[in-house]
Symmetry: C2
Subunit: 206 residues, 2 copies
Protein backbone atom coordinates (compact mmCIF):
# COMPACT_ATOMS: atom_id res chain seq x y z
CA UNK A 1 0.00 0.00 0.00
CA UNK A 2 1.21 3.52 -0.86
CA UNK A 3 0.34 6.96 0.42
CA UNK A 4 -2.13 8.47 -2.04
CA UNK A 5 -1.92 12.15 -2.88
CA UNK A 6 -5.35 13.36 -4.03
CA UNK A 7 -5.19 16.78 -5.66
CA UNK A 8 -7.04 19.19 -7.94
CA UNK A 9 -5.17 21.60 -10.23
CA UNK A 10 -7.35 24.56 -9.24
CA UNK A 11 -6.83 23.98 -5.52
CA UNK A 12 -4.67 26.59 -3.87
CA UNK A 13 -3.33 24.56 -0.94
CA UNK A 14 -2.60 21.69 -3.33
CA UNK A 15 0.05 23.92 -4.93
CA UNK A 16 2.68 23.89 -2.15
CA UNK A 17 1.74 20.28 -1.36
CA UNK A 18 2.29 19.15 -4.96
CA UNK A 19 5.61 20.96 -5.17
CA UNK A 20 7.06 19.47 -2.01
CA UNK A 21 5.50 16.02 -1.62
CA UNK A 22 7.86 14.01 -3.81
CA UNK A 23 11.06 15.22 -2.14
CA UNK A 24 9.49 14.76 1.31
CA UNK A 25 8.24 11.26 0.47
CA UNK A 26 11.63 10.26 -0.87
CA UNK A 27 13.44 11.48 2.23
CA UNK A 28 10.92 9.62 4.41
CA UNK A 29 11.06 6.48 2.27
CA UNK A 30 7.30 6.59 1.63
CA UNK A 31 5.94 5.43 -1.76
CA UNK A 32 3.31 7.81 -3.17
CA UNK A 33 0.62 7.56 -5.82
CA UNK A 34 -0.60 10.69 -7.63
CA UNK A 35 -4.40 10.88 -7.69
CA UNK A 36 -5.84 13.82 -9.65
CA UNK A 37 -9.57 14.40 -9.26
CA UNK A 38 -12.08 17.21 -9.73
CA UNK A 39 -13.40 19.29 -6.86
CA UNK A 40 -16.30 20.71 -8.89
CA UNK A 41 -18.58 17.68 -8.47
CA UNK A 42 -17.52 17.36 -4.82
CA UNK A 43 -18.45 20.99 -4.12
CA UNK A 44 -21.70 20.74 -6.09
CA UNK A 45 -22.70 17.77 -3.92
CA UNK A 46 -22.33 20.12 -0.92
CA UNK A 47 -24.54 22.70 -2.59
CA UNK A 48 -21.72 25.00 -3.72
CA UNK A 49 -21.59 26.39 -7.25
CA UNK A 50 -18.13 27.93 -6.78
CA UNK A 51 -15.02 27.57 -4.63
CA UNK A 52 -15.79 28.11 -0.93
CA UNK A 53 -12.99 30.70 -1.03
CA UNK A 54 -15.15 32.77 -3.39
CA UNK A 55 -18.45 31.96 -1.69
CA UNK A 56 -17.14 32.90 1.78
CA UNK A 57 -15.03 36.06 1.37
CA UNK A 58 -13.47 36.11 4.86
CA UNK A 59 -12.23 32.57 4.28
CA UNK A 60 -10.95 33.56 0.84
CA UNK A 61 -9.06 36.61 2.12
CA UNK A 62 -7.44 34.47 4.79
CA UNK A 63 -6.48 31.73 2.33
CA UNK A 64 -4.69 34.07 -0.10
CA UNK A 65 -2.64 35.64 2.67
CA UNK A 66 -1.95 32.25 4.26
CA UNK A 67 -0.83 30.77 0.94
CA UNK A 68 1.48 33.73 0.38
CA UNK A 69 3.08 33.17 3.81
CA UNK A 70 3.38 29.40 3.27
CA UNK A 71 5.04 29.80 -0.15
CA UNK A 72 7.45 32.42 1.22
CA UNK A 73 8.39 30.08 4.07
CA UNK A 74 8.99 27.22 1.61
CA UNK A 75 10.77 29.48 -0.92
CA UNK A 76 8.15 28.58 -3.54
CA UNK A 77 7.38 31.35 -6.04
CA UNK A 78 3.80 32.58 -5.80
CA UNK A 79 1.71 35.08 -7.73
CA UNK A 80 -1.99 35.27 -7.02
CA UNK A 81 -3.78 34.11 -10.20
CA UNK A 82 -5.84 36.80 -11.92
CA UNK A 83 -8.61 34.21 -12.34
CA UNK A 84 -9.73 31.77 -9.61
CA UNK A 85 -10.54 28.95 -9.75
CA UNK A 86 -9.09 28.01 -13.11
CA UNK A 87 -10.49 24.99 -14.92
CA UNK A 88 -8.12 22.05 -14.37
CA UNK A 89 -10.21 19.48 -16.25
CA UNK A 90 -7.88 18.82 -19.19
CA UNK A 91 -4.74 18.88 -17.03
CA UNK A 92 -6.41 16.37 -14.67
CA UNK A 93 -7.33 14.12 -17.59
CA UNK A 94 -3.69 14.12 -18.74
CA UNK A 95 -2.34 13.35 -15.26
CA UNK A 96 -5.01 10.69 -14.71
CA UNK A 97 -4.74 8.93 -18.09
CA UNK A 98 -0.94 8.74 -18.02
CA UNK A 99 -0.80 8.27 -14.23
CA UNK A 100 2.12 5.86 -14.18
CA UNK A 101 4.27 7.64 -16.79
CA UNK A 102 7.58 8.77 -15.34
CA UNK A 103 7.04 12.39 -16.46
CA UNK A 104 3.74 12.82 -14.59
CA UNK A 105 5.09 14.22 -11.28
CA UNK A 106 7.08 16.91 -13.11
CA UNK A 107 4.09 17.62 -15.37
CA UNK A 108 1.90 18.11 -12.30
CA UNK A 109 4.39 20.55 -10.82
CA UNK A 110 4.72 22.48 -14.08
CA UNK A 111 0.94 22.92 -14.34
CA UNK A 112 0.77 24.15 -10.74
CA UNK A 113 3.58 26.60 -11.38
CA UNK A 114 1.80 27.84 -14.51
CA UNK A 115 -1.35 28.52 -12.47
CA UNK A 116 0.04 29.85 -9.19
CA UNK A 117 3.35 31.39 -10.13
CA UNK A 118 3.12 32.36 -13.83
CA UNK A 119 -0.59 33.29 -13.84
CA UNK A 120 -1.26 31.27 -17.00
CA UNK A 121 -4.61 29.80 -17.97
CA UNK A 122 -4.17 26.07 -17.41
CA UNK A 123 -7.42 25.30 -19.26
CA UNK A 124 -5.68 26.55 -22.41
CA UNK A 125 -4.44 23.69 -24.61
CA UNK A 126 -1.30 25.55 -25.71
CA UNK A 127 -0.29 26.16 -22.08
CA UNK A 128 -0.56 22.43 -21.39
CA UNK A 129 1.26 21.58 -24.60
CA UNK A 130 4.13 23.76 -23.48
CA UNK A 131 4.18 22.07 -20.05
CA UNK A 132 4.46 18.68 -21.78
CA UNK A 133 7.01 19.81 -24.33
CA UNK A 134 9.24 21.33 -21.68
CA UNK A 135 9.50 17.71 -20.43
CA UNK A 136 10.39 16.52 -23.95
CA UNK A 137 6.98 14.91 -24.40
CA UNK A 138 4.87 15.13 -27.58
CA UNK A 139 2.30 17.63 -26.28
CA UNK A 140 -0.36 17.57 -29.00
CA UNK A 141 -0.40 13.77 -29.28
CA UNK A 142 -0.67 13.21 -25.53
CA UNK A 143 -3.44 15.80 -25.21
CA UNK A 144 -5.39 14.08 -27.96
CA UNK A 145 -5.13 10.74 -26.18
CA UNK A 146 -6.16 12.34 -22.90
CA UNK A 147 -9.40 13.46 -24.53
CA UNK A 148 -10.52 9.99 -25.54
CA UNK A 149 -13.78 8.66 -24.09
CA UNK A 150 -11.78 6.13 -22.04
CA UNK A 151 -9.64 8.88 -20.53
CA UNK A 152 -12.69 11.01 -19.70
CA UNK A 153 -14.29 8.01 -18.05
CA UNK A 154 -11.14 7.26 -16.05
CA UNK A 155 -11.11 10.72 -14.45
CA UNK A 156 -14.86 10.59 -13.85
CA UNK A 157 -14.44 7.27 -12.03
CA UNK A 158 -11.49 8.58 -10.05
CA UNK A 159 -13.53 11.58 -8.89
CA UNK A 160 -16.32 9.23 -7.84
CA UNK A 161 -13.74 7.16 -5.97
CA UNK A 162 -12.62 10.32 -4.14
CA UNK A 163 -16.17 10.97 -2.96
CA UNK A 164 -16.56 7.33 -1.94
CA UNK A 165 -13.40 7.63 0.18
CA UNK A 166 -14.95 10.58 2.02
CA UNK A 167 -12.77 13.23 0.36
CA UNK A 168 -14.33 16.70 0.53
CA UNK A 169 -11.39 18.99 -0.29
CA UNK A 170 -7.85 19.07 -1.62
CA UNK A 171 -5.16 18.17 -1.08
CA UNK A 172 -6.06 14.99 0.78
CA UNK A 173 -3.54 12.35 1.77
CA UNK A 174 -4.95 8.86 2.03
CA UNK A 175 -3.29 6.06 4.01
CA UNK A 176 -5.52 2.99 4.00
CA UNK A 177 -8.77 4.11 5.65
CA UNK A 178 -7.27 7.32 7.04
CA UNK A 179 -7.62 10.77 5.46
CA UNK A 180 -5.39 13.78 6.14
CA UNK A 181 -6.68 17.02 4.66
CA UNK A 182 -4.44 19.93 3.81
CA UNK A 183 -0.91 20.90 2.87
CA UNK A 184 -0.05 21.26 6.55
CA UNK A 185 -0.84 17.58 7.21
CA UNK A 186 1.71 16.08 4.80
CA UNK A 187 4.22 15.34 7.55
CA UNK A 188 1.54 13.81 9.80
CA UNK A 189 0.34 11.60 6.94
CA UNK A 190 3.90 10.42 6.24
CA UNK A 191 4.43 9.59 9.93
CA UNK A 192 1.13 7.76 10.02
CA UNK A 193 2.12 5.75 6.97
CA UNK A 194 5.43 4.79 8.49
CA UNK A 195 4.05 3.77 11.86
CA UNK A 196 0.96 1.93 10.60
CA UNK A 197 2.06 -0.02 7.55
CA UNK A 198 3.13 -3.60 7.93
CA UNK A 199 6.72 -4.03 6.84
CA UNK A 200 5.66 -6.53 4.17
CA UNK A 201 3.03 -4.29 2.60
CA UNK A 202 5.51 -1.46 2.23
CA UNK A 203 8.22 -3.75 0.95
CA UNK A 204 6.18 -4.84 -2.06
CA UNK A 205 6.46 -1.34 -3.44
CA UNK A 206 10.10 -0.59 -2.77
CA UNK B 1 1.44 43.24 21.70
CA UNK B 2 0.48 39.68 22.64
CA UNK B 3 -0.58 36.65 20.64
CA UNK B 4 -4.39 36.49 20.84
CA UNK B 5 -6.11 33.13 21.13
CA UNK B 6 -9.65 33.43 19.75
CA UNK B 7 -11.79 30.43 20.67
CA UNK B 8 -15.37 29.19 20.96
CA UNK B 9 -16.36 26.59 23.55
CA UNK B 10 -18.37 24.53 21.05
CA UNK B 11 -15.48 24.39 18.57
CA UNK B 12 -13.91 20.97 18.28
CA UNK B 13 -10.44 21.96 17.10
CA UNK B 14 -10.35 24.66 19.79
CA UNK B 15 -10.32 21.84 22.37
CA UNK B 16 -6.74 20.55 21.82
CA UNK B 17 -5.59 24.12 21.12
CA UNK B 18 -7.02 25.42 24.41
CA UNK B 19 -5.50 22.57 26.37
CA UNK B 20 -2.00 22.98 25.01
CA UNK B 21 -1.59 26.68 24.21
CA UNK B 22 -0.55 27.96 27.64
CA UNK B 23 2.27 25.47 28.15
CA UNK B 24 3.48 26.00 24.57
CA UNK B 25 3.37 29.80 24.92
CA UNK B 26 5.28 29.65 28.18
CA UNK B 27 8.00 27.45 26.74
CA UNK B 28 8.27 29.79 23.73
CA UNK B 29 8.21 32.93 25.89
CA UNK B 30 5.16 34.29 24.06
CA UNK B 31 2.52 36.30 26.00
CA UNK B 32 -1.04 35.25 25.16
CA UNK B 33 -4.47 36.83 25.60
CA UNK B 34 -7.57 34.62 25.81
CA UNK B 35 -10.34 35.83 23.51
CA UNK B 36 -13.61 33.92 23.73
CA UNK B 37 -16.21 34.70 21.07
CA UNK B 38 -19.27 33.10 19.50
CA UNK B 39 -19.17 31.29 16.17
CA UNK B 40 -22.97 31.31 15.78
CA UNK B 41 -23.19 34.88 14.45
CA UNK B 42 -20.08 34.30 12.30
CA UNK B 43 -21.62 31.21 10.72
CA UNK B 44 -25.01 32.88 10.27
CA UNK B 45 -23.30 35.70 8.34
CA UNK B 46 -22.04 32.98 5.94
CA UNK B 47 -25.57 31.63 5.54
CA UNK B 48 -25.13 28.64 7.84
CA UNK B 49 -27.72 27.79 10.47
CA UNK B 50 -25.60 25.04 12.04
CA UNK B 51 -21.97 23.97 12.35
CA UNK B 52 -20.41 23.24 8.93
CA UNK B 53 -19.48 19.85 10.41
CA UNK B 54 -23.19 19.07 10.63
CA UNK B 55 -24.14 20.77 7.37
CA UNK B 56 -21.44 18.96 5.37
CA UNK B 57 -21.39 15.34 6.56
CA UNK B 58 -18.15 14.26 4.81
CA UNK B 59 -16.35 17.15 6.48
CA UNK B 60 -17.94 16.22 9.81
CA UNK B 61 -16.95 12.56 9.59
CA UNK B 62 -13.39 13.57 8.79
CA UNK B 63 -13.24 16.07 11.66
CA UNK B 64 -14.35 13.58 14.34
CA UNK B 65 -11.79 11.03 13.25
CA UNK B 66 -9.09 13.67 12.90
CA UNK B 67 -9.82 15.08 16.35
CA UNK B 68 -9.64 11.59 17.82
CA UNK B 69 -6.21 11.07 16.22
CA UNK B 70 -4.94 14.49 17.33
CA UNK B 71 -6.04 13.98 20.94
CA UNK B 72 -4.48 10.51 21.01
CA UNK B 73 -1.21 11.93 19.70
CA UNK B 74 -1.26 14.67 22.37
CA UNK B 75 -2.42 12.27 25.13
CA UNK B 76 -5.52 14.42 25.66
CA UNK B 77 -8.60 12.47 26.76
CA UNK B 78 -11.40 12.60 24.20
CA UNK B 79 -14.95 11.33 24.08
CA UNK B 80 -17.17 12.42 21.21
CA UNK B 81 -19.96 14.56 22.74
CA UNK B 82 -23.43 13.06 22.43
CA UNK B 83 -24.66 16.52 21.41
CA UNK B 84 -22.89 18.82 18.93
CA UNK B 85 -22.50 21.72 18.89
CA UNK B 86 -23.22 22.49 22.54
CA UNK B 87 -24.19 26.03 23.47
CA UNK B 88 -21.13 27.79 24.90
CA UNK B 89 -22.81 31.18 25.40
CA UNK B 90 -22.75 31.32 29.21
CA UNK B 91 -19.25 29.84 29.45
CA UNK B 92 -18.05 32.44 26.94
CA UNK B 93 -19.67 35.25 28.93
CA UNK B 94 -17.84 34.07 32.05
CA UNK B 95 -14.47 33.81 30.29
CA UNK B 96 -15.01 37.17 28.57
CA UNK B 97 -16.25 39.13 31.59
CA UNK B 98 -13.51 37.92 33.92
CA UNK B 99 -10.90 37.79 31.13
CA UNK B 100 -7.95 38.95 33.23
CA UNK B 101 -8.73 36.87 36.34
CA UNK B 102 -5.92 34.41 37.09
CA UNK B 103 -8.34 31.44 37.18
CA UNK B 104 -9.63 31.99 33.61
CA UNK B 105 -7.16 29.77 31.69
CA UNK B 106 -7.88 26.82 33.98
CA UNK B 107 -11.63 27.54 33.79
CA UNK B 108 -11.44 27.49 30.00
CA UNK B 109 -9.67 24.14 30.05
CA UNK B 110 -12.16 22.66 32.54
CA UNK B 111 -15.13 23.68 30.34
CA UNK B 112 -13.48 22.15 27.27
CA UNK B 113 -12.81 18.94 29.20
CA UNK B 114 -16.44 18.86 30.36
CA UNK B 115 -17.62 19.12 26.74
CA UNK B 116 -15.12 16.95 24.88
CA UNK B 117 -13.97 14.44 27.45
CA UNK B 118 -16.75 14.12 30.03
CA UNK B 119 -19.68 14.63 27.62
CA UNK B 120 -21.35 17.15 29.94
CA UNK B 121 -23.76 19.85 28.82
CA UNK B 122 -21.74 23.06 29.15
CA UNK B 123 -24.85 25.20 28.69
CA UNK B 124 -26.05 23.84 32.04
CA UNK B 125 -25.48 26.30 34.89
CA UNK B 126 -24.68 23.59 37.41
CA UNK B 127 -21.94 22.18 35.16
CA UNK B 128 -20.33 25.62 34.94
CA UNK B 129 -20.74 26.17 38.69
CA UNK B 130 -18.84 22.95 39.27
CA UNK B 131 -16.09 24.04 36.88
CA UNK B 132 -15.71 27.29 38.83
CA UNK B 133 -15.94 25.66 42.25
CA UNK B 134 -13.29 23.09 41.36
CA UNK B 135 -11.02 26.15 41.04
CA UNK B 136 -12.15 27.39 44.49
CA UNK B 137 -14.20 30.19 42.93
CA UNK B 138 -17.72 31.20 44.06
CA UNK B 139 -19.62 29.65 41.14
CA UNK B 140 -23.11 31.05 41.62
CA UNK B 141 -21.93 34.60 42.32
CA UNK B 142 -19.60 34.71 39.31
CA UNK B 143 -22.26 33.29 37.01
CA UNK B 144 -24.70 35.95 38.18
CA UNK B 145 -22.19 38.71 37.39
CA UNK B 146 -21.47 37.15 33.98
CA UNK B 147 -25.14 37.52 33.12
CA UNK B 148 -25.28 41.27 33.69
CA UNK B 149 -26.17 43.49 30.71
CA UNK B 150 -22.59 44.81 30.71
CA UNK B 151 -21.17 41.30 30.48
CA UNK B 152 -23.56 40.34 27.69
CA UNK B 153 -22.55 43.47 25.81
CA UNK B 154 -18.85 42.75 26.30
CA UNK B 155 -19.12 39.35 24.63
CA UNK B 156 -21.31 40.74 21.86
CA UNK B 157 -18.70 43.43 21.15
CA UNK B 158 -15.89 40.87 21.27
CA UNK B 159 -17.69 38.69 18.70
CA UNK B 160 -18.13 41.73 16.47
CA UNK B 161 -14.42 42.46 16.89
CA UNK B 162 -13.67 38.90 15.74
CA UNK B 163 -15.65 39.43 12.55
CA UNK B 164 -13.96 42.81 12.01
CA UNK B 165 -10.57 41.09 12.28
CA UNK B 166 -11.59 38.70 9.50
CA UNK B 167 -12.07 35.68 11.77
CA UNK B 168 -14.32 33.02 10.22
CA UNK B 169 -13.61 29.95 12.37
CA UNK B 170 -12.00 28.77 15.58
CA UNK B 171 -9.46 28.55 16.94
CA UNK B 172 -7.76 31.56 15.36
CA UNK B 173 -4.43 32.93 16.50
CA UNK B 174 -3.98 36.64 15.89
CA UNK B 175 -0.57 38.33 15.75
CA UNK B 176 -1.02 41.98 14.79
CA UNK B 177 -2.68 41.92 11.36
CA UNK B 178 -1.94 38.23 10.77
CA UNK B 179 -4.43 35.39 11.33
CA UNK B 180 -3.56 31.72 11.78
CA UNK B 181 -6.54 29.39 11.70
CA UNK B 182 -6.58 26.00 13.36
CA UNK B 183 -5.05 23.95 16.12
CA UNK B 184 -2.33 22.80 13.74
CA UNK B 185 -1.12 26.39 13.25
CA UNK B 186 -0.28 27.17 16.88
CA UNK B 187 3.43 26.55 16.39
CA UNK B 188 3.52 28.65 13.20
CA UNK B 189 1.73 31.51 14.98
CA UNK B 190 4.21 31.39 17.86
CA UNK B 191 7.16 31.46 15.44
CA UNK B 192 5.59 34.35 13.57
CA UNK B 193 5.13 36.25 16.82
CA UNK B 194 8.72 35.72 17.82
CA UNK B 195 10.22 36.70 14.48
CA UNK B 196 7.98 39.72 13.80
CA UNK B 197 7.60 41.49 17.12
CA UNK B 198 9.95 44.31 17.96
CA UNK B 199 11.98 43.48 21.03
CA UNK B 200 10.56 46.52 22.82
CA UNK B 201 6.94 45.63 22.19
CA UNK B 202 7.38 42.15 23.61
CA UNK B 203 9.39 43.45 26.55
CA UNK B 204 6.50 45.60 27.81
CA UNK B 205 4.54 42.45 28.51
CA UNK B 206 7.19 40.28 30.10
Amino acid sequence: MALEFWFEFASTYSYPAALRIEALARSEGVPIVWKPFLLGPVFRAQGWSDSPFNLFPAKGRYMWRDLERICAELSIPFRRPSQFPRNGLLAARIACWFATAPWVPEFVRSVYRANFSEDLDISNISVLERCLESLSQPGAALIQQAQSPESKEKLRAQTEAAVALGIFGAPTLVVGPELFWGNDRLEVAMSWYKSHQQAGAVKQLT
